[in-house]
């Protein structure tokens, strides 16, 4: 029991040191931009289509359910507000982060894990290059750039999904839906979601890269550490979302 707690504390401490090292490179501007752009491309390509599909579907489902509930109160003209605010403040940041964890996060952990068990990370050190700077910083930074962009895209596509359902099934005029959406979303609503997705991006980059970087145990280890990376990302996103929601409500009010 004592050994398990000591190991857990050791892992937590090491992961914070790892994160500190990554951030120190970023803050000192020691960034390999070519590698960052390659990672942005890879992570973006990996997740763009799936984020677009899930976001559109989420917005559409939200509109369908809203229609059912709001019609009971003769308030179906508020579908646009409900869809827009739900997506922008809450659903899009969380859904996008979860999808991103499962695709790009798992991809990063598996790629780094394979490099680790094949000694490519050790080889980087023997070539006189810091693997944190060469392999980790570009991935974490790309995460911090790609995920917020995907988050905003997800909000837009979710709203479009809601628009399609509201105009075709609920009989709400398109112009009316558009104006209701624009009037509903304030800067505060947008930034509530944006701050969250930025925090999720840092966590996903950190957790996925950390798990991949310290993978051991051959091909079995790659599978185990990749699964751990995705599970920890999911837990971190969902748990921190509760705290972040309380925080933004405290700062910006409801």
């Amino acid at each position: 029991m004592v050994a398990a707690v000591a190991e857990l504390l050791g892992t937590v401490g090491r992961s914070f040191l790892f994160f500190g090292e990554v951030m120190s490179y970023i803050l000192r501007g020691k960034i390999r931009w070519v590698d960052v752009f390659r990672q942005i491309y890879e992570q973006g390509v990996q997740t763009l289509l799936i984020v677009m599909m899930t976001s559109f579907a989420s917005g559409a489902v939200l509109a369908m359910q809203s229609q059912v509930v709001l019609e009971r109160f003769s308030a179906k003209e508020f579908i646009a507000q409900l869809v827009a605010l739900s997506l922008v403040r809450e659903l899009s940041p969380v859904f996008t982060a979860l999808v991103f964890s499962g695709k790009a996060g798992a991809g990063m952990a598996a790629e780094l894990g394979t490099m680790s068990v094949n000694n490519q990370i050790q080889a980087t050190r023997t070539l006189g290059v810091d693997p944190i700077e060469f392999l980790i910083v570009p991935r974490v930074l790309a995460c911090m750039i790609v995920l917020p962009i995907l988050g905003v895209l997800s909000e837009i596509l979710g709203i479009v999904g809601g628009y399609v359902i509201a105009t075709t099934q609920a009989g709400i005029p398109g112009v009316y839906y558009y104006h209701q959406t624009v009037n509903a979303i304030g800067y505060v609503d947008f930034f509530c979601g944006f701050v969250k997705v930025c925090c999720f991006a840092v966590m996903i980059g950190w957790i996925s890269c950390y798990q991949g970087f310290y993978t051991s145990g051959g091909s079995l280890g790659v599978g185990r550490f990749t699964t751990k990376a995705v599970a920890f990302c999911y837990i971190s996103v969902l748990v921190s979302n509760a705290f972040l929601t309380r925080l933004v409500l405290t700062i910006w009010g409801s």
């Binding site: 094949n118 000694n119 490519q120 080889a123 050190r125 023997t126 006189g128 290059v129 810091d130």
Partner: protein, 249 residues
């Protein structure tokens, strides 16, 4: 130790090196020297700390006690930042080759040049072509490591390890996983390139035939210490029971 070129100065000095993992003491006060330009093989059974020795020589594992000096630099007293600079002067050939999967062979070879020199793209291209020629892979530059055989990956990794003009080359089990013909080829290639480029080379192996084929001198490691050393004739004449059993298989 005097090298062939008469240089008395040892390029590598290992003294009193001790390393344990838990209760398992893998190195127990190990000491030896390697002269400039010499090719030395370190032989021993699996798990006797041969790879640990090499990893300590480039500061990737910290010894419990003892000192390592390479080319006048005390490796054991360098900081992590200083070690990065130092490692660019030492070539390291991994057992698994450890080429980057996401780069072609030519890009793998160009990587250390891009990182540590101010060479132009054309100069890098010409240097890469020269080293591909050295390892007899002139037409394989555009291939990815996954498209190469095990022997070719080893040769490409050897070229990457030596391309910076390193004065010291460390090879961890270079013949591991290769058939006898490929093992002979890579062993002779290591020897030829080391001599051609004036490298001081340490090879860890349990491949007796290729150790004698490659090295000027062979050290036999048992229980964390050197139990015998010399050329093939000296070792064959050894009365140490472990050495006799090891050589006779």
């Amino acid at each position: 130790m005097r090298s062939k070129d008469g240089n008395d100065e040892a390029m590598i000095k290992v003294s009193g090196l001790t390393k344990s993992f838990g209760d398992n003491k893998v190195l127990d006060g190990l000491s030896f020297e390697v002269a400039g330009g010499e090719v030395v093989a370190v032989m021993g059974s699996s798990g006797t700390g041969k790879s640990v020795l090499l990893l300590q020589m480039v500061g990737l594992i910290v010894p419990d006690a003892g000192e390592i000096e390479i080319d006048g630099v005390k490796v054991t007293s360098l900081t992590e930042r200083e070690l990065l600079g130092f490692r660019s002067r030492v070539g390291y050939l991994f057992q698994e080759s450890a080429l980057y999967d996401f780069m072609t062979v030519a890009e793998n070879l160009a990587f250390p040049l891009r990182e540590h020199t101010k060479m132009t793209t054309a100069e890098i291209g010409s240097k890469v072509a020269q080293f591909l020629e050295y390892v007899d892979m002139p037409a394989e530059g555009d291939k990815y490591p996954s498209q190469l055989s095990g022997g070719m990956r080893k040769r490409a990794a050897l070229a990457r390890a030596m391309i910076l003009g390193t004065r010291v080359l460390l090879c961890d089990e270079p013949t591991s996983g290769l058939d006898p013909i490929r093992s002979r080829d890579i062993s002779l290639l290591i020897r030829d390139l080391s001599k051609k480029l004036g490298c001081t080379t340490v090879i860890t192996t349990h491949d007796v035939v290729n150790a004698f084929r490659t090295a000027d001198r062979t050290l036999v490691l048992d229980s964390g210490r050197i139990v015998a050393q010399g050329v093939e004739k000296d070792l064959r004449a050894s009365t140490d029971p472990f050495v006799k059993e090891f050589l006779e298989g």
